[in-house]
């Protein structure tokens, strides 16, 4: 007797390879056949630097740099989403996927989103910032693991399989 309880699973993605691995891991393991889970892809854009209309040198910043920055950001979002799509498109079974984009400090936005969406689980990759051979947790994943109330899965880069 299977209980198909609907669960909301948030996967935080960014431009890194590790988060794509986190996404494919969660697809492999958290979405067994027949489950009713919803996958929420969350991408956080870095905060826009604030442009005043007159900068320090006294020049008036026209609309063009701002427009260019917006366009770059938009392209970044699209590329991350496209990469995620190639990951989940190969996946066989039937799952609901939602895409959400936030802006600001990644760790804060992720924690707030998890709380607001009342997610049942958060999956997050980790950047391998460590100087040592052992993988260290990136600051965002560590912060989120400590802050959020729901269970967290931290997916690290796979060590070389032998």
């Amino acid at each position: 007797m299977e209980e198909t309880k609907e669960r909301k699973i948030v996967v935080a993605v960014d431009e890194s390879e590790e988060s794509m691995e986190a996404l494919s891991w969660s697809l492999d393991n958290l979405f067994p056949y027949g489950s009713n889970n919803t996958l929420i892809l969350l991408y956080v854009k870095p905060p826009l630097p604030v442009y005043s209309s007159i900068d320090a040198a006294g020049f008036i910043v026209t609309g063009d740099p701002v427009a260019a920055l917006n366009k770059y950001e938009h392209e970044l979002v699209e590329s991350v989403m496209a990469r995620s799509q190639t990951v989940y498109q190969d996946f066989e079974s039937d799952i609901n996927i939602e895409r959400r984009v936030g802006r600001g400090d990644a760790k804060e936005v992720i924690c707030n989103a998890v709380q607001k969406l009342r997610a049942d689980m958060l999956v997050i990759g980790t950047h391998d910032y460590g100087f040592f051979k052992r993988a260290l947790l990136g600051s965002v994943s560590e912060y989120c693991a400590k802050r959020v109330k729901c269970p967290v899965i931290i997916v690290k880069k796979k060590a070389q399989n032998n």
């Binding site: 056949y33 027949g34 489950s35 079974s93 039937d94 939602e98 959400r100 693991a145 400590k146 269970p151």
Partner: protein, 193 residues
């Protein structure tokens, strides 16, 4: 007809539905999930959570299902203690009978823990194995993860050190940093909310 329903379901937040495939995905490799147990209630909460969420993957009914490993690490018994007993503090060596007695009680305690864990697993028909190691909890758990090629390690957040702040206990924190596999951190539910 399925596609019409899918496009009708698409709303503002771009909900997508993948086309349904006929066969169940085959489990290619045995997934191994390890749960670390100690005397605290939160570790049993973790075990129950893993059982609930991964029951479909770990059921004994599957031919090649996953395997749940319950691991308990006993803290090593110091064979001697130093008592600050007056002017000349002497190191007292425990006699061998005392060592035997303590070892027995430790074994009894861990056997009780593991049987409780096994009971929880058997109730949901989970394929389980247990493991008892001796030594420093964080090192032994990380070593076991590496040697047994565990796919997911589940730990609680606070365990034995019950400090009422939202941060990770020392063993969980160490394992989160050093274990080579993905790690699942389950927080106990707050009683007073």
């Amino acid at each position: 007809m399925a596609e019409d329903q899918a496009t009708a379901a698409m709303e503002t937040t771009t909900v997508e539905k993948q086309p349904e495939m006929t066969e169940t995905p085959s489990v290619t490799t045995t997934k191994r999930i390890m749960v670390a147990i100690d005397e605290s209630d939160s570790s049993f909460y973790v075990l129950q959570w893993v059982i609930d969420h991964f029951s479909s993957l770990l059921a004994t009914t599957l031919a090649e299902g996953g395997l749940l490993t319950v691991i308990h690490v006993q803290s090593p018994f110091q064979h001697f203690t130093a008592f600050p007993a007056g002017p000349g503090s002497a190191t007292v060596y425990a006699s061998s009978s005392m060592i035997e007695a303590v070892k027995k009680s430790q074994q009894k305690a861990s056997a009780a823990l593991l049987s409780r864990a096994l009971q929880m697993c058997r109730a949901k028909q989970i394929r389980t194995e247990t493991l008892v190691l001796e030594g420093d909890a964080k090192d032994m758990i990380c070593q076991a993860v590496e040697q047994m090629h565990v796919d997911l390690l589940a730990v609680g957040s606070r365990g034995l050190g019950k400090i009422k702040r939202a941060f990770l206990g020392s063993v969980s924190d160490y394992c989160a940093h050093h274990a080579k596999c993905p790690i699942l951190i389950v927080k106990p539910p707050k009683e007073t909310h």
